[in-house]
Amino acid sequence: MKILGISAHYHDSAAALVIDGLPVGAVQQERLSRRKNDAAFPLEAIEWCLDHAGLSPEDLDAVVFYERPMLKFDRILVSALRAFPRGRGAFAHAMKNSLGEKAWVRGLITAQLGVRRDKILFTEHHQSHAAAAFLTAPTRHAAIMTTDGVGEWATLTVGRGQRTAGGPTSIVLDREVRFPHSLGMLYSTFTAYLGFAVNEGEYKVMGLAAYGRPTMIDQVRKLIRRTPDGAFALELDYFDFHTTVARSYSKRFAELFGPPRQAHEPIDLASAEGRRFADVAASVQAVLEEILVDMTRRLRAETGLPDLCLGGGVALNGVANARILAESGFERLFVPPAPGDAGSALGAALYADRIHFGTPDRDVPDHPFWGPSIDDDQLARLAGEDGLPSTTLDDAALVEQTADDLAAGRVVGWMEGATEFGPRALGHRSILTAPHDVAMRDRLNRDIKYREEFRPFAPIVPIEAADRYFELPPGGARLARFMSGVFPVRPQWRERLAAITHVDGTARVQTLERSMAPRLHDLLEAYGRRSGMPVLLNTSFNLAGEPIVNRVVEGYSTFRRSGIDVLVAGRSRIVKRALAQATLKEELA
């Protein structure tokens, strides 16, 4: 059975290919088109998946779209009608936007791929999230919660999944909270209020929250009330996202929290205004955590199951995830490497495989590396063309050399194997540095990532050493496998791990098992032999506003344009040679 999953049209479009029950490739469109958060129909991603497997579209047994477009259109239309007469702008926008392409997905897929209409299937948005979370997790029976901004109508669902080795699979979502009542939209509204891009800047709100105190928690609670049945409802007078496309929050919201931040204004945490924004972020973060912990606690009591699979964009909130693990009663919490809409391409394909076609269960390999692989020879060729010396080493020598570079305080661009599926660099497309001092963090922010100073960097550590440096609760190492939890750095190590310790003493740690990335594991150990700590700072290999690099040439251009000192791609290594730009201009012009 060959099934192609597609997610598209809202944010982070992607394609994933499942053959005989197992993923063989999955990639976000942005990694290929080089447009960050590319939401276009993912033709390049589809082509890559098919080429990678040596298939043509007619070989496919099914193409699955990750949501039901007509149901989504229904929600958009009904919302505009409910908001009459204020919804006139939303109505016009929705009609122009949806009727162009988004509502006619079956026709679009047929036209683009040439597959028969009866081969095109649709899963519900939250079923795709649920499948991405449950069917990729090493558990056989688990409670499931999915939560995001909105899919068709659902914004949060709960249910349970069961797999039998070599047998049938079931995913049953029992109940849902419906639009406009949405935890994701609540958080996104604050994202907009704080001047960050919605669907992109939510992690900045989480990072900023650590600098504030939840002094406005009562105000946030006015926006979202708990319902007697344990769910929640937004007080819609404070919001505008359901009536217009122009604004997320209403005048009342701004009256409650004060003037919003303009997107271009820097956040100065030393100023009263900067602290107010941090307090707002801390307050909404606290309320989000409080509600999620309560809902998952109830789910645990209801299901009696020890495992929880969490999907949807809200599952990217590592601080909330850590609290769920610690306080909900679930023993293990599984968050896939791509819990958001991109991951739904894989979720939809797996759902169709197991549920629609009833294919016997198979364990999905527990790693995130489903994208294109690098061409090992490309770096040496590019460097040669530009007159940069490169060296090609065997794995052991390369690891030792890179560990020397890192110990000497160099910033290393690290590319190996297949790219990660999901928003995080988990060791195959990473920028690595020593994690010890704040100066390194500042250098990364200033010379390489060009980003806000309040955003933390993440550490990576071998799983067997993780507990020594980080306070991981039971199940914490698993949650940290794909960088999905934020945990305290042990107080005695905070000073020596200053570059990755956030202002509140925590870190979004990745625990690395050797089998997932053996060479990077070796590098951590080699670095540990030099520094006494097998911990590195690991940040995504990209510059601000760009997607994570995919091919070697993209890593190379990033290396050339930033303060990265060393680039390693496969077995090749190059070192930055100082060359004044003015000289280069004269030489080249």
């Binding site: 009608l81 079956r106 849902e176």
Partner: protein
């Protein structure tokens, strides 16, 4: 020689808030253009062009920083007021980036011709702005720095166009000119269609939809808050054939 639009430019750049907003918008466009050039550098098989595109991309990033810093400084000097009113966007174009050019589909020659014309237009616009910015020396200085780089960009794109397409450069430049015109027409036509569409749909909204709006609101009032059960058939096998 003074631009025939100098009085318009003078009006656009006279207001400090509008000036700040324009500069911040220019910063975004320059940053976008820089990313397109990075993409061009990653696509080309010509090592010399790759190096030049990367240098150019770094310039664009620097311009974005210059515009942004100056825009923020101007904004900080103003009393708290309304944000961007967007009024002068089309009256004071900056660089257009590479518009919707699909860099990965372009041959080097066509891309260079397009870049050359783009840089030329930007240099001309920025020179006009310099002429009307007597009252704001720091902003004027920013434009002077940028225009200096644009001269390099114009020159290298032309020189490289002659190198990669020695017999064809004239035709490529004309094609690029036509393409810019076509792009301008599409932008205009798209905007006009959008306005017409909005008017027609808004009329429909008020003329045809009120009864449906009433029904939708009544249905909403009946909806309980909190959990809603999911019907078993939604989880069932076979439900995947429906789009709704």
């Amino acid at each position: 020689m003074q631009s025939p639009l100098s009085s318009v430019h003078r009006w656009v750049w006279r207001d400090a808030r509008r000036r700040a907003n324009n500069l911040l918008r220019f910063a975004e466009v320059e940053a976008d253009g820089g990313r397109d050039l990075v993409r061009a550098a990653e696509q080309t098989r010509d090592p010399l062009l790759r190096r030049l595109f990367l240098v150019h991309a770094l310039d664009e990033q620097r311009h974005a920083d210059l515009f942004r810093k100056r825009g923020l400084a101007l904004m900080a000097s103003l009393p708290v007021g309304p944000g961007d009113d967007g009024r002068a966007d089309w009256l004071a174009p900056g660089e257009r980036g590479l518009d919707d050019l699909r860099v990965e589909q372009e041959r080097d020659g066509a891309l260079l011709a397009f870049l050359h014309l783009s840089e030329k237009a930007a240099a001309r616009d920025f020179t006009n702005y310099i002429a009307v910015l007597d009252g704001d020396p720091p902003t004027r200085e920013v434009f002077e720095k940028v225009v200096h780089d644009e001269a390099f960009h114009m020159n290298y794109t032309h020189a490289q166009l002659l190198r990669v397409a020695p017999k064809d450069h004239g035709r490529l430049l004309w094609m690029a000119r036509l393409r810019r015109l076509w792009s301008l027409y599409l932008r205009f036509a798209g905007a006009l269609a959008s306005v017409i569409g909005s008017v027609v749909l808004t009329l429909q909204y008020f003329v045809l939809l009120p009864p449906f709006a009433l029904l939708a609101r009544r249905a909403q009032a009946r909806e309980p808050r909190g959990w809603a059960p999911i019907a078993p058939e939604r989880n069932a096998r076979g439900a995947q054939k429906r789009q709704y």
